[in-house]
Symmetry: C2
Subunit: 298 residues, 2 copies
């Protein structure tokens, strides 16, 4: 069994500035971090660190940042496909971190957009029924839909983390076996402010199992057998970047390693893992190590 | 004779965005360019392309962007010192290019700040009286002053392009043989809104020769023999980044190659060269080639 994560890779560059610049102005800042990021890369790396056979289908550009991403990914137990960079710039996420603690982000999707359905179809030739296809919200609605439709035709399990969320993603719910959303995504796609009602709406729309992450309030799982709530782990928050990706990947890995459908234990392990990510600064550099994950998944 | 350019190297990264982000927001953008920049690197590269024996004393960091800068500089006929990167991140200039044509810039100075007076002193051991020391405004007042004082002690010719300008730079004027300023810098350091009066004030403050660049209005040279005005070259403006650096470097190179003090012909050649930079997009990639400069300097 293997997991195909189809998504994006980006270089997360964090700048500390006093305040956001005005038009026409030049301000000084300090580049405090550069880290591998992108929700696709994040989730694939953590799955692989959990011991899951993982292929990341994602595009890097043919620039020095692309080389750097490839080197970083090659340090993980992960297969990156396609093997060659696309003829464009590698995607970047600028995190403009203001002195008052507020952030603004600028994200590019050039490389993610350059990955074609045809590229992805080629890579999925290596899939077998029962394998998993995991997508995030970085692709267009059309591409996201085409990939899940293809996955269903091939008898693959579909997992969707619709972040960043688009309104139209609600149309894709019948194609999804496992949906993982935060509160805002649940409310938007479930079309109600009440998260429990929203989770039921998502289930009724055709999703197999719904997981809603609730930040400090923990998380909940809704499926045919009912609703399960799991508390969050107490943690001193350093940086929440990548926490949702850690939660999703560890929850999914736990269930796959147990060879059983999602249950409270998977959400509990996920909560513990994401508390590690939250307690450290950065993206990749904040994630739990293979050793830490092995302890949790025993 | 050689020129020691003591300044900064940065990676210029240009992002095209609809509008500047608000706090708490995540927006999409496209990374449209990555180019070698930094006023120190720009001026040194153009001097070397003019056939001047040029040493750039500037710091890169020990990250992948530093490697990339080094590779770019190694393609020029230029000596980069110190030979080893500093233990920090390479400086970056983020150019946030809004859809309405307005820009905002975020610039880091970590690597430039990491270059110590001691580092610079070591490199200037190789200088001989009559060599040139050229600085821009990227260092602290104290470091800028210490370098020019050292240069004077060693009998070197001092050239100052005080950009970005600081008020206190006015105190350094007695240490300067050639001062190259734009209108705003002339007005600030000369303490009057009239550029001609400002140029006279700068000369009276102890500068040997004053050059004021006036954009589309051309440029002027003021020294002991009087005031010379030179017109700008007509050009369709694509991107003014690096235009001032091109002007300064070609003017200086022209005078050094003629083995004579600054004159109208040097400003005319500089105007022609900077019109090439203005007519092309980017920083390094917009600069005149060695071949183009050789034609101009014949």
């Amino acid at each position: 069994m293997q997991v195909f994560v189809i998504g994006n890779i980006s270089v997360d560059e964090t700048y500390l500035i006093n305040d956001l610049p005005q038009k026409g102005s030049s301000i000084h800042g300090a580049k405090t971090h550069q880290d591998l990021g992108g929700k696709g890369a994040n989730q694939a790396i953590i799955l692989s660190r959990c011991g899951i056979n993982t292929t990341l289908i994602a595009a890097i550009g043919n620039d020095n940042q692309g080389h750097w991403c490839k080197e970083k990914i090659e340090q993980e137990r992960l297969t990156l496909r396609p093997n060659s960079p696309r003829d464009c710039r590698t995607d970047t996420s600028l995190i403009l971190n203001c002195a008052d603690g507020d952030n603004a982000n600028i994200t590019t999707t050039t490389a993610a957009d350059a990955l074609s359905i045809n590229d992805i179809e080629q890579e999925l030739l290596f899939s077998k029924p029962g394998d998993v296809v995991l997508q995030q919200g970085n692709f267009s609605h059309q591409k996201t839909e085409a990939i899940f439709s293809l996955a269903r035709q091939k008898g693959l399990i579909t997992v969707f983390n619709p972040s960043p969320v688009k309104n139209t993603f609600a149309e894709l719910l019948p194609l999804i076996d496992i949906l993982v959303v935060n509160q805002l995504e649940a409310q938007l796609l479930g079309n109600t402010a009440d998260c429990i009602l929203a989770a039921h709406a998502l289930l009724n729309a055709g999703v197999g199992q719904v997981v809603v992450t609730l930040g400090a309030e923990g998380s909940m799982l809704l499926n045919g057998t009912g609703l399960t709530h799991v508390a969050a782990e107490p943690v001193s928050v350093k940086d929440t970047t990548g926490a949702g990706d850690t939660f999703l990947a560890v929850m999914l890995a736990s269930s796959l390693l147990r060879q059983s459908s999602l249950a409270a234990i998977d959400l509990q392990r996920a909560a513990l893992a994401s508390s590690i990510t939250i307690g450290r600064t950065g993206t990749l550099s904040a994630f739990p190590t293979q050793f830490e994950l092995a302890q949790m998944l025993k």
